[in-house]
Symmetry: C2
Subunit: 147 residues, 2 copies
């Protein structure tokens, strides 16, 4: 009997998890059905990166507690950190007034979000006519993305 | 003679101002020639809003030190605060690794970026299947946007 109840709970949970999230973002705002998601360090407030989500990526993020995006270059669902191990653990998700942008407040594993080895993808600042690097490299991409 | 030099300087300045900025963002990444720009409170790190820029809006922002965007709904250049007076004074501009997103670090005049009266457009957080309001209203939109 206990097993049955547990099984039933699992089935119900599975149904819940595979359904679209109850929070409906306005994915039709964009012709490609994708919206921007900003990843922000939940402790420091530093903006780490911006990538895109479709409804599947948003649902997977809520379901797993790990930041998922839609890779425009590879045209597929993308678990951030699937290659590098630099998973983003979701601490909070914020939604904007127009339901067309979200903020993922995350705990960035590995200390770096940028595939170029910097903590933040925004490691450069506009100085007059030039870009100056202000971030420090946390890892060497050649080491992290080697096969 | 002084007038001639001044005139020459003005003409040169005008040429400079109407040229595209030397920092080339990858506006071709998007079929509409627009890229996301995130406005972040330069003191607290709070993310205030996300809007879009084209090359003209980016150039105007650098030129004037006031955040400009491209309004997708009105299809025109948009000086943030032109209606509300809630100008965003640029303190710093960050550019990401792929040259396709920027962060405007700003001093938000009027204390609020959101047209709904909240400091940040991201005033709601995902709680299970619902959105909970966590921000406080700074102004009443009816007062600010009245004609």
């Amino acid at each position: 009997m206990h097993a049955e109840i547990l099984f039933s709970a699992l089935v119900q949970n599975q149904i819940l998890l595979t359904e679209k999230p109850m929070i409906s973002l306005d994915f039709n705002k964009n012709s490609e059905g994708i919206l921007p998601a900003i990843a922000q360090d939940y402790k420091t407030g530093e903006i780490l990166m911006l990538a895109y989500i479709n409804d599947e990526a948003f649902a997977k993020t809520i379901e797993t507690g790990k930041a998922h995006y839609w890779s425009r270059s590879r045209n597929k669902l993308w678990l951030k950190g699937e290659s590098s191990g630099h998973i983003q653990e979701i601490q909070d998700i914020l939604v904007d007034c127009d339901l067309d942008t979200v903020v993922y407040k995350v705990n960035q594993l590995g200390g770096a979000a940028c595939h170029k080895g910097y903590k933040s993808c925004f490691y450069r600042t506009v100085q007059g006519d030039e870009l100056h690097i202000q971030g420090k490299k946390v890892f060497d991409p050649a080491d992290v993305y080697k096969k």
